[in-house]
C-alpha cells in the first residue's frame, strides 16, 4: 500500500506554496505604484484622493457630517456622496490608523478583493478555466486596475459592492440575495452617477442574460430610485453644467501606453477586439458586453470613472481573445508563437513601465511642493484662482478655490466657469480687475499642464500671462519646474 496521505500532503503543500506565492505576487503588483509614490514622497495618488481625505478629515473633526464646506467653490453646502469619506473615518477610528494611512490601505485591500471577486464571478459564469485565468491575468496587469487600487476613490469600493452583490445573486440562497440587495442599494451613497450606471447595468443584465433575477433586480433598482428621490426632496435639483469639461479629450489619452495615468492596456484592447469578433458561444452575453461598452465609451468622454468599468469589460474579452488565438489553427507556428509572445511580453512590459511611471502621476512632486508652499505661506481661507482641475489640491492646502471638479450641487458653476474664462483670456485690465474684485482673489496657481492646455495655439502675450508679467500687482512668489504661484495685491497696496 502506498502512502497516499503523504502524497496528498505534499500535493497540498505544493498547492499551498503556489497559492501563497500567487497572493504575494498579487499584493506586490497592486501595492507597487503606492510604494513607489511613498518612497519618492509624492503622497496620495489622484485628485479625488485629496478630496476624500479632506472630506473625511472634516467629518472626523466635526464628529459628524457638517452642513457647510468653507473651501470648495469659495464655500458651499456640504452636499457630497459621503459614503467613502465616512468609511475612511470609521476604519481609521476602529483601527487607530491615521486618515492618510487608511487612504492608502483601503484601496489596496479592495483592489485585491475586486480581483478575487472578478475571478469568482467569471468562474461561476461557467466560462472556460483558461479564459478565467487569462481574464484575471489581464485585469491584474491592467494599468487602470492598478490605478484603482492605488487611489483613494469611492470607485474601488463601489466596484467591490457591485461584484459582491452580483456574485451573491448568482446563488439562490435568500440570505445571499438579501446581502446582494444591500450591496446594490448602498452604491448611491458612494457616488450618485455610478449608482445610475449600475442600475442600468443591472437592468440590462436582467433583461438580456438572467430573466430569473429580473424581479429581484427591478426591486433593487426601485429602491435605488427611492434613494435618488430622497436626495431630490432633500437637496432639490442642481444646476446643469453648460460647458465642456472634456475639451482636451483625446482617445489616445485613454491608453496607458500613451502616457495616461489610468488608461487601458493597448495589448488587452487588441485581444479584446479579437475576442469580441470571435465570440460565438453566448450571443446575448456578447450583446450585453457590446451595449455596456457603448454606454461606457460614451461616458468616458465626460467622466473619468467609466474607464475603470470599461477596463473590466476589456479584460473579460481579452481573456477570450487569448483563448481564441491559442486555439486558432495557425499555418505558421512561428507567427503564432511570436504573436502570443509579443502580447504576453508586451502586457508585462507595459505594466512594469506603467508602475515605474507612478511617481510622475498626478499630483507629481512639483505639484505637491507647490501645495506645500501654498499651505505654509498662505493665510487659511484665502482665495486661490486656478483651473478647476486643481481645485481639490487648493482646498487640501487649506485655501478656498473659485471652483473645482465637484460641480454637482455647487453654487453657480456655469457663471464661475464663464467668469474664469473671461479672466484667463482677458485682453484688458478692466476684465481682470472685475474678476479679482468679484472673487477676492489672493493667489493665482497654475501648473504647466493646464497652462499649456489653456494657451495652446494661442498668442499668450495677448491674455492674462502678459498682465501677470508686467502688472506690479502680481508677484511671482513661487515657481518650480511645473508650478507657478502669483500673489495678487490689491490696487491700494
Amino acid at each position: 500500500m502506498t502512502n497516499t496521505k503523504g502524497i496528498n500532503f505534499i500535493k497540498w503543500d505544493a498547492n499551498f506554496i503556489f497559492l501563497i506565492l500567487l497572493i504575494f505576487g498579487l499584493i506586490l503588483i497592486i501595492i507597487s505604484p503606492t510604494i513607489i509614490r511613498q518612497l519618492n514622497g509624492v503622497g496620495l495618488l489622484g485628485q479625488e484622493s485629496y478630496l476624500n481625505y479632506r472630506l473625511a478629515n472634516l467629518i472626523k473633526e466635526n464628529r459628524g457630517i457638517p452642513n457647510y464646506d468653507d473651501l470648495s467653490f469659495g464655500g458651499r453646502y456640504f452636499i457630497y456622496a459621503v459614503g467613502w469619506p465616512v468609511f475612511l473615518v470609521l476604519f481609521s477610528t476602529l483601527t487607530k490608523l491615521s486618515l492618510e494611512n487608511t487612504s492608502i490601505i483601503l484601496p489596496i485591500f479592495f483592489g485585491l478583493m475586486n480581483i478575487i471577486m472578478f475571478y469568482l464571478i467569471l468562474k461561476n459564469l461557467l466560462l472556460r478555466r483558461l479564459q478565467v485565468y487569462a481574464s484575471s491575468f489581464f485585469l491584474l496587469l491592467s494599468p487602470a486596475f492598478l490605478y484603482l487600487g492605488s487611489a483613494s476613490s469611492a470607485t474601488v469600493f463601489i466596484i467591490f459592492l457591485l461584484f459582491l452583490g452580483f456574485y451573491l445573486q448568482l446563488t439562490s440562497k435568500p440570505i445571499n440575495l438579501a446581502i446582494s440587495f444591500i450591496c446594490f442599494i448602498l452604491i448611491p451613497l458612494f457616488s450618485y452617477s455610478q449608482g445610475i450606471l449600475i442600475s442600468i447595468l443591472l437592468l440590462l443584465y436582467g433583461l438580456l442574460i438572467n430573466r430569473k433575477r429580473l424581479k429581484f433586480l427591478i426591486l433593487t433598482i426601485f429602491v435605488i430610485s427611492l434613494i435618488y428621490i430622497f436626495y431630490y426632496i432633500n437637496y432639490g435639483g442642481f444646476e446643469q453644467i453648460k460647458f465642456n469639461v472634456t475639451e482636451n479629450f483625446s482617445v489616445v489619452n485613454y491608453f496607458a501606453e500613451f502616457g495616461s495615468d489610468y488608461g487601458i492596456g493597448i495589448f488587452s484592447a487588441f485581444l479584446a477586439v479579437v475576442g469580441l469578433i470571435k465570440m460565438k458561444t453566448n450571443k446575448l452575453f456578447k450583446v450585453y458586453l457590446i451595449l455596456l461598452s457603448i454606454i461606457l465609451l460614451i461616458l468616458i468622454k465626460y467622466l473619468t470613472w467609466p474607464i475603470f468599468y470599461f477596463n473590466f469589460v476589456i479584460c473579460i474579452l481579452a481573456g477570450y481573445g487569448l483563448v481564441v488565438l491559442l486555439r486558432f489553427k495557425w499555418e505558421s507556428k512561428l507567427i503564432k508563437k511570436t504573436t502570443i509572445a509579443v502580447i504576453l511580453f508586451g502586457t508585462f512590459a507595459s505594466t512594469f513601465l506603467y508602475i515605474s511611471r507612478a511617481e510622475s502621476f498626478e499630483p507629481n512632486i512639483y505639484l505637491i511642493e507647490g501645495m506645500k508652499y501654498l499651505a505654509e505661506e498662505g493665510e487659511p481661507y484665502q482665495t486661490v484662482f486656478s483651473h478647476y482641475d486643481l481645485g481639490y489640491y487648493i482646498n487640501f492646502a487649506g485655501m478656498k478655490n473659485i471652483f473645482d471638479r465637484y460641480f454637482l450641487y455647487a453654487p453657480k458653476p456655469n457663471k464661475r466657469y464663464a467668469d474664469s474664462r473671461a479672466f484667463i483670456y482677458a485682453e484688458d485690465l478692466e476684465t481682470i480687475n472685475k474678476f479679482l474684485k468679484d472673487y477676492s482673489v489672493d493667489y493665482i496657481f497654475i501648473d504647466k499642464k493646464r497652462y499649456n492646455e489653456l494657451y495652446k495655439d494661442k498668442m499668450v502675450n495677448r491674455y492674462l500671462p502678459f498682465y501677470l508679467d508686467i502688472d506690479k500687482r502680481f508677484r511671482l512668489v513661487y515657481k518650480n519646474e511645473e508650478v507657478y504661484l502669483w500673489r495678487v495685491y490689491s490696487i491700494d497696496d
Binding site: F258, F267, F270, E331, T339
Partner: protein, 493 residues
C-alpha cells in the same frame, strides 16, 4: 551558371547605381538639402551626449523627437570612417540596394531575370528617387529599401512559405525606422479589401502574415510615436506641418508624374496593372496596386509628401512594368511578330536607356542646387559675429544651414514636429522678406530677438525679390557682409 548570372545581375544593378551616385556625390563636399544638416547635427549630439532631447538653436529652442534607428545605423558605421564621410556615402549605398530588391521582387513574380533586370534598372534611375535621395542624408535611403524588402518577403512568405523569420524580424524593425513605413500597413489593408472584393480567399499563411504584420507594426508604431500622439492626438499624422505645406498638390501639375516617374514605367506599369487585375488576377499585382491606391489615398488627404508619394508610385510602376513585359513576350510567342523578337528586345533596351537619360539631368540639377562654398563661408563668418543669445533670420529652407554652419539660433526650419507656432513663424518670415513696412518688419524681428537677416540668392529667388524693401534706413538695417549675392543685414534698432 544560371546561379552565377543571377548574382552578376544583382551586382551589376547595385554597382551601376552606386557608381552613378558616387560620381555626383564626389563632386561636392556639401550635401544637397538642408535637412541633411538637421541629421548631421542630431548625429553629432547623439554621439556626444547619447540622446536627443532639446535643441537650443532650432526655432530659438525646441524639443526634438526623431526616430533614432537610422542614426544608430550611421553611428555604427562611423566607427570605421569619419561621420562627415559616412553620412555622404552610406545613404548612397543603402539606396543602391533598392533596385536589387526590385529586381528580386520582379524575378519572384515573373520568373524571368532579364525582365527583372529591366525593372531593376528602371527603378534605380527613377528621376524622383534621384531628386530626393542623391547626395542627401535622407532617411528614405534606409526606409525605402526596407519597405520594398518587406513587400518582397511578404510575397516570398505567401508564394513559397519561405523567409517567415526574416519577415517577422522586419515587422518589428520597420515601424521604428520612420512613420512613412506605415504605408506597408495601409497597403495590406487595401490589399485585403481588394482580395475580398474580387472574392479571392484570404486564409492560411496569407491571413496570418497580414494580421501579424499589421498588429506588430501598429503596436510598435503607437508605442514609438506615443509622444506625438499625446501632443497632437490624431493630427499627429500631419507631424505639425504648416497648413500651406499640407496642400500637397499645390504647385504641382497634372503632368508632374510623367517627369517624376518617367514615361516607360508609367506606360508599362499601367498595362501591368490592367493585365494583373483584370486578366490574370495575380496576388502580386493586387499587392502593388494596393500600394498605389494607398499612396493616392494618402495624397488625397494630404497625409504624405508629394515627392514621397511619387517615389512609392514610381517604384510600384517599375514592378508592374515587369509584369506587363512578361505578358507582352508571352503574347508575342503566339503571334507572327515572334520572328522579330530580338529587334523588339533591342528596341526595349534602347527605350530603357533613353528613359534613364533624364535621370542625369535631374542629378545635375540636384548638384547645381547644392550649397556652395561661398554660401557656407558667409554663414560661418556671420556665426562668428553673433556673440549673444539672438537669432538669425533666414528663409525656412535655410534654417538648418544657420544652426549647423553658423551654430546660431534660427527663427524656423523645416523640422516641424514639436516646433512652436510653426504657422505663425512661417508667416512672419514671409513678412520680413516681402513687407514694405519697416515698422512691421522691425516688430516681427524683435519678436524673435533677431539680430541679423540672411538674404541669400535662394531667398531672392523664392520670394522673387532683389533686396529687402525697407533697407534705406541704414541705422536700422546695416549691410554687414556680402559675398556673391548673399548678404547679411544687421538689425540695429
Amino acid at each position: 551558371m544560371k546561379f552565377k548570372l543571377n548574382k552578376l545581375f544583382i551586382l551589376l544593378i547595385f554597382f551601376l547605381n552606386l557608381g552613378f551616385r558616387l560620381y555626383f556625390v564626389s563632386n561636392t563636399e556639401f550635401m544637397s538639402d538642408d535637412f541633411s544638416y538637421f541629421h548631421l547635427r542630431n548625429l553629432i549630439q547623439l554621439k556626444t551626449t547619447g540622446q536627443l532631447g532639446y535643441d537650443s538653436l532650432s526655432y530659438g529652442g525646441r524639443d526634438i523627437f526623431y526616430p533614432l534607428t537610422y542614426y544608430y545605423v550611421i553611428l555604427l558605421f562611423s566607427l570605421l570612417l569619419p561621420l562627415e564621410l559616412i553620412i555622404k556615402i552610406l545613404p548612397e549605398i543603402l539606396i543602391s540596394i533598392l533596385p536589387v530588391i526590385i529586381y528580386l521582387t520582379v524575378k519572384l513574380i515573373v520568373r524571368n531575370k532579364y525582365i527583372a533586370l529591366f525593372s531593376g534598372l528602371v527603378a534605380g534611375f527613377l528621376p524622383v528617387t534621384i531628386q530626393k535621395t542623391l547626395n542627401q542624408a535622407s532617411i528614405y535611403s534606409l526606409a525605402l529599401p526596407l519597405i520594398f524588402l518587406m513587400f518582397y518577403l511578404f510575397l516570398e512568405v505567401i508564394y513559397k512559405k519561405k523567409n517567415i523569420g526574416l519577415f517577422i524580424i522586419l515587422s518589428f524593425i520597420l515601424p521604428i525606422i520612420h512613420p512613412s513605413t506605415f504605408i506597408f500597413v495601409l497597403t495590406l489593408i487595401f490589399y485585403s479589401i481588394l482580395l475580398f472584393s474580387e472574392s479571392v480567399p484570404i486564409k492560411g499563411i496569407k491571413l496570418e502574415s497580414i494580421l501579424f504584420s499589421i498588429f506588430i507594426m501598429l503596436i510598435i508604431g503607437f508605442i514609438t510615436y506615443n509622444k506625438a500622439f499625446l501632443e497632437y492626438g490624431i493630427k499627429f499624422v500631419y507631424a505639425n506641418s504648416p497648413l500651406n505645406y499640407l496642400e500637397t498638390f499645390r504647385g504641382h501639375k497634372l503632368s508632374d508624374p510623367l517627369n517624376y516617374i518617367g514615361i516607360i514605367p508609367l506606360i508599362f506599369g499601367s498595362i501591368g496593372i490592367y493585365l494583373g487585375i483584370f486578366k490574370y488576377r495575380k496576388n502580386s499585382v493586387f499587392l502593388f496596386s494596393s500600394l498605389i491606391l494607398s499612396t493616392i489615398a494618402l495624397l488625397l488627404f494630404s497625409l504624405i509628401e508629394y515627392d514621397l508619394a511619387m517615389m512609392f508610385m514610381g517604384l510600384s510602376f517599375s514592378i508592374m512594368a515587369g509584369i506587363a513585359l512578361k505578358h507582352f513576350f508571352s503574347y508575342l510567342e503566339i503571334t507572327k511578330f515572334q520572328r522579330y523578337k530580338n529587334i523588339i528586345i533591342i528596341a526595349i533596351c534602347v527605350i530603357t536607356f533613353i528613359s534613364i537619360y533624364p535621370s542625369f539631368g535631374v542629378a545635375f540639377n540636384v548638384m547645381d542646387n547644392t550649397l556652395t562654398t561661398e554660401e557656407v563661408e558667409i554663414i560661418q563668418r556671420m556665426g562668428g559675429r553673433v556673440d549673444d543669445d539672438s537669432s538669425i533670420m533666414a528663409n525656412i529652407e535655410e534654417g538648418h544651414y544657420i544652426t549647423y554652419f553658423a551654430n546660431r539660433k534660427n527663427v524656423a526650419d523645416t523640422y516641424y514636429l514639436f516646433a512652436p507656432d510653426v504657422d505663425q513663424r512661417l508667416n512672419d518670415i514671409d513678412l520680413v522678406y516681402t513687407s514694405w513696412s519697416r515698422a512691421i518688419a522691425l516688430n516681427t524681428l524683435h519678436k524673435y530677438k533677431v539680430s541679423y537677416i540672411y538674404l541669400s540668392e535662394r531667398t531672392k529667388l523664392k520670394y522673387n525679390i532683389e533686396d529687402l524693401k525697407y533697407i534705406e534706413d541704414e541705422k536700422c538695417f546695416k549691410k554687414v557682409d556680402e559675398y556673391k549675392g548673399n548678404k547679411f543685414y544687421q538689425v540695429g534698432c
